[in-house]
């Protein structure tokens, strides 16, 4: 497939920090003029060291924060300038899977409530089918129906991550941004989750933007890799080419450190 799912042009984000009224403004450039394209059905890996702006990019793509400059196109539609209200319609198309922490799911909601939410908001299925759909989603991510009335704190980290995935695909999202989805999990569970993501990609024809600092994961998951350094994308290349012959000095260093 050649159509472009996500296109980013000259996207920048800077934060203005001002400690008090009298101090000078300090500008932090978290993301500087990055551009990339993700084709439909493709997986793009975004790697870089901590503080290189990867998570900011994820938040920008989801419009959880407003970009300072540049343009984001989702299936050809410019969503950069959309208001919160009009953006809500497109949120069904693009979803995010966060890094697992103890409060990545509302601890006061049950699993079934958490899964019903996206279904209700985006009216994916008719009201009377919501219960069935919740069961189907649970099955899809490999959880049993009996977990439905539990709270997130009663489940393991891996199970919670599966709930997050289920929430993301519940809206019939075509693009999913995965922000360090497995970094906080046990190595054994990591494999399971990654395999689940791969399986879902096949079944649902998903497009991934995969943000991680773990090259192993990228190697396993992605067709292409973008290397970020201090807010900029220094190199973007096919996975194999990048791993074997990186051009940029920083990319070279990064891959070298990984291989050793």
């Amino acid at each position: 497939m050649s159509d472009i799912a996500l296109k980013v042009v000259d996207l920048s984000k800077h934060f203005v920090i001002r400690n008090n009224v009298f101090s000078k403004k300090k500008i932090i450039h978290a993301v500087r003029k990055i551009s990339f394209e993700v084709k439909s059905g493709e997986s793009l890996g975004l790697i870089g060291e901590s503080g290189s702006g990867k998570t900011t990019v994820a938040n920008l793509l989801l419009k959880l924060i407003e970009p300072s400059e540049g343009r984001i196109e989702l299936f050809g539609k410019d969503i950069t300038q959309l208001s919160e209200e009009s953006m809500r319609i497109y949120r069904g198309d693009i979803q995010i899977i966060f890094q697992y922490t103890h409060a990545v799911l509302d601890p006061k909601m049950t699993i079934s409530e958490l899964l019903r939410e996206p279904l209700e908001i985006h009216q994916v299925v008719a009201k009377y089918q919501i219960d069935n759909e919740v069961d189907r989603l649970l099955e899809l991510v490999g959880l049993s129906k009996s977990e439905k009335n539990k709270f997130p704190s009663q489940l393991s980290g891996g199970q919670n991550q599966r709930i997050l995935i289920a929430r993301a695909i519940a809206t019939r999202a075509r693009v999913i941004v995965c922000d360090e989805p497995v970094s906080a999990l046990d190595v054994s569970v990591q494999g399971q989750i990654l395999n689940l993501l791969l399986k879902l990609k096949e079944e649902l024809n998903l497009t991934y933007v995969f943000i991680t600092h773990d090259l192993n994961v990228v190697k396993h998951m992605c067709n292409r890799i973008a290397v970020m350094y201090q807010g900029e994308i220094v190199e973007i290349e096919n996975t194999e080419k990048m791993l074997s012959d990186p051009q940029n000095p920083y990319a070279q260093k990064l891959i070298k450190s990984f291989l050793t």
């Binding site: 979803q95 409060a103 908001i121």
Partner: protein
């Protein structure tokens, strides 16, 4: 580890007790909180001693009494309702403002945030208490009636204290919004409003509930502090002394409420410490109760995986269907608890207006005769109608199985035609019946002649009757008692062939007569003071009178019935309510409807502990036929058992400008009547009725408290203390019966405990 939640248990016990007292104060109280007893008599080994309030705690008063002799214990019990509701309502007000504002601010509204912060800064810098005192001490707020006073308290105290809470909640909201899952909810496409309700509030809920009870406790202490500065609901601020231009107010409230107790008695702390200690203790216990309950709830709610949150979320998002399916039994129990709590809060609202004292006489639909005058068929019809009405209300006769008590009024006439003219140089003047003159005695008369001014004669020792012959005799009533005047009329008419007697009206005397005593030859006429002035100045003036009359039956009918008391101790004590049923115009008919409805409402009041005797009096239009005299001669109930006679016979107007009122015949020694009078006085003042106190005249060796003998009848003949309430027409008749009736109803009901 399953440790008992001790604070919660203690808190629940205290709050349940408070709630019980709020709901059923009459179960606990020993006295009526409105009862006032200034002095009491003690028999001590055969000696009688008199003691003055405040009384120390003993058998009569469990926790003592205040300086007015009100029972502290009962006052605290009855005051619980208002004081606690006030605390709760203020807390509710604070939450209604603070929580939405805090949510708004948390989601990034600059305006909401700065409003909260500025308010918080202002009221941190200047103590909220000080501002509340300044505002609530304004004359405008002090003078408000109860309902409005409560509202203003809630508004003012909410306004000065919400921001502190708002700031607290706002910080919490901000913390919650930084939690990772909020980002997830936004990414899902959830609206801010839904996030606030479904995600933020459930996380806040435990704290909010704890804060709520803590705020109630805080509000109660604020109220207590305000009370010490004489700021409380229903502060009448009676003027005690105004000598040398300095007003000294007594801060007093007749509304049971704790804060007022602290204020009224703070000057008594050295001589009567119980007046301060016990209300303060009441505050202390309830503040403790709310605090403990809040603390206990905090511990309970902080447990993780509490399913009550689920139910809570469902309640606030109004998704009730969900209850039916997925929730286990334990949660359902908790849901019920939540709903109960909700209902309780709503219940608090209704406490403010917990008793309905409206009369609603306009709804009475009956066909009454155009006029009802003693001795006519209409009177008999009306009496029968009233008797039927009484029977329907369960009112029973006092004597002879008949509600109608007939009495003999002798022969009298109803005037059909009447005329009185003055022939002056300028021509013949027609006088107005009802304002200028009225007949007391008459037959079919047509006379004319000159006037003899006897106002300066010694009428007790008349030397010669010759000078009276063929003249109208002018007598000043002011100097003589009613019986003396009757004596003069008799001697003069027997001994001299006079044309008639003209009496000068006393101040306030009603010049209106449709019935007259029978006398075929002589007329007795009352004239106004203006007319008498004209007569005195023009001795040669010829006056002419002309009347035709119709004889009446010689029986009047008082309708008398008793609504039996229910209390085993005081059930045989009675309150007598006297009303009239004679009238001459349509307005009088409305008054009769009002009287009937008032009787009905008095019977409906559930806690009528004492008996009520209803007198519907006949012949009230003419003093001589006034039914009260016949009742007074032969009262069908033991006068010792009668606590008070409430004379409403002077209520004769549907709309009126002033109230005539007298408690002169309800002395402090007659405790029940006296306190009833005081209550009437305070209530009428509170509503702003212009009051015309009835004069006390010293006539013929005895005090005539009011304008006529009938007003004195029960007090002087039977020793029954009397409170008189009547209406007066003025140029500006802005008051109506409905509000007056509700006062009557409320006062009687409150005093009758």
């Amino acid at each position: 580890m399953n440790r008992r939640n001790v604070p919660l248990i203690f808190g629940i016990v205290i709050l349940l007790l408070v709630l019980l007292v709020m709901l059923f104060p009459e179960m606990f109280a020993s006295h009526s909180p409105y009862t006032i007893q200034h002095i009491r008599f003690l028999h001590d080994e055969g000696r009688l001693s008199v003691e003055r309030a405040p009384f120390s705690p003993d058998d009569g008063f469990l926790l003592g009494s205040d300086h007015l002799g009100r029972d502290i214990y009962s006052y605290i019990i009855y005051g619980t309702r208002l004081t606690i509701s006030l605390g709760v309502l203020i807390a509710l007000g604070q939450f209604l403002i603070a929580v939405p504002m805090a949510l708004y601010a948390g989601f990034g509204s600059r305006i909401a945030k700065s409003v909260i912060q500025q308010f918080n800064v202002i009221f941190s810098a200047i103590p909220a208490l000080l501002i509340a005192i300044i505002i609530l001490k304004l004359d405008y707020f002090v003078g408000l009636e109860k309902q409005k006073s409560i509202m203003s308290f809630i508004l003012v105290l909410t306004a000065v204290s919400w921001a502190r809470l708002g700031n607290l909640v706002m910080e919490r909201v901000e913390t919650i919004l930084t939690q990772p899952f909020i980002k997830g909810e936004v990414a899902i496409g959830k609206k801010h409003f839904r996030i606030a309700i479904e995600n933020v509030i459930p996380h806040l809920a435990p704290e909010l509930i704890v804060l709520f009870f803590m705020e109630i406790a805080r509000n109660l202490s604020t109220l207590m502090q305000l009370g010490i500065f004489s700021v409380f609901i229903g502060n009448l601020g009676l003027i005690n002394d105004a000598t040398s231009g300095v007003q000294i107010n007594t801060d007093i409230s007749f509304e049971p409420e704790w804060a007022s107790m602290l204020s009224t008695s703070r000057t008594l702390i050295t001589i009567a410490p119980w007046t301060v200690i016990y209300p303060a203790l009441a505050f202390f216990i309830s503040v403790l109760g709310f605090n403990l309950f809040g603390e206990g709830l905090r511990t309970l709610m902080q447990k993780k995986e509490s399913r009550s949150v689920l139910a809570f979320r469902k309640i606030i998002t109004l998704d009730f269907k969900y209850f039916c399916v997925n929730v286990d039994k334990r949660s359902k129990f908790k849901i019920t608890l939540w709903i109960a709590l909700f209902a309780l809060i709503i219940g608090f609202f209704s406490f403010i207006n917990y008793k309905d004292y409206s009369i609603g006489y306009a709804s009475v639909r009956v066909d009454l005769p155009e006029t009802t005058v003693i001795g006519t068929e209409e009177a008999l019809f009306s009496a029968g109608f009233i008797a039927d009405y009484m029977t329907r209300l369960g009112i029973v006769p006092l004597r002879n199985d008949s509600l109608l008590m007939p009495f003999d009024i002798g022969q009298s006439f109803l005037i059909e035609e009447q005329m009185m003219t003055l022939s002056m140089e300028s021509g013949i003047h027609n006088l107005n019946q009802g304002t200028d003159y009225a007949f007391l005695t008459s037959g079919n008369i047509s006379e004319s002649g000159v006037v003899y001014d006897a106002t300066k004669d010694d009428l007790f020792n008349i030397s010669s009757f010759d000078r009276f012959a063929d003249k109208f005799i002018l007598i000043e009533q002011l100097y003589y008692s009613d019986s003396a005047i009757r004596h003069f009329i008799e001697t003069i008419t027997v001994n001299a062939g006079v044309k008639g007697i003209i009496l000068v009206a006393r101040a306030n005397q009603v010049i209106q007569n449709h019935i007259v005593d029978a006398d075929e030859d002589n007329a007795v006429i009352v004239v106004s003071q203006e007319v008498s002035q004209v007569l005195k100045e023009n001795p040669d003036l010829v006056i002419a009178v002309h009347t035709t009359v119709k004889p009446l039956t010689s029986n009047g009918y008082n309708v008398v019935g008793i609504h039996r008391g229910t209390d085993p101790h005081i059930g045989d004590e009675a309150i007598v309510v006297g009303m009239n049923y004679n009238y001459l115009n349509q307005e009088g008919g409305e008054v009769l409807k009002f009287n009937l409805k008032l009787m009905e409402r008095l019977c409906q009041m559930a806690d009528q502990k004492r008996a009520i005797i209803f007198l519907f009096l006949d012949g009230t239009i003419n003093e001589n036929q006034h039914g009260i005299h016949y009742i007074a001669q032969d009262f069908p109930y033991s006068p010792q058992k009668i606590q008070v006679y409430i004379d409403l016979t002077s209520i004769t107007h549907e709309r009126f400008g002033e109230i005539e009122f007298s408690t002169a015949q309800a002395p402090p020694t007659r405790q029940f009547a006296w306190s009833l009078g005081r209550l009437f006085d305070s209530k009428l003042n509170q509503k702003g009725y212009p009051i015309q106190l009835l004069e006390t005249n010293y006539i013929d060796g005895s005090y005539y408290f009011t304008k006529s003998e009938s007003d004195n009848a029960l007090f002087w003949n039977r020793g029954i203390p009397t409170v008189i309430l009547g209406t007066v027409k003025t140029d500006n008749n802005i008051w109506d019966l409905e509000t007056l009736g509700s006062i009557v109803l409320e006062v009687i009901n409150k005093n009758n405990y």
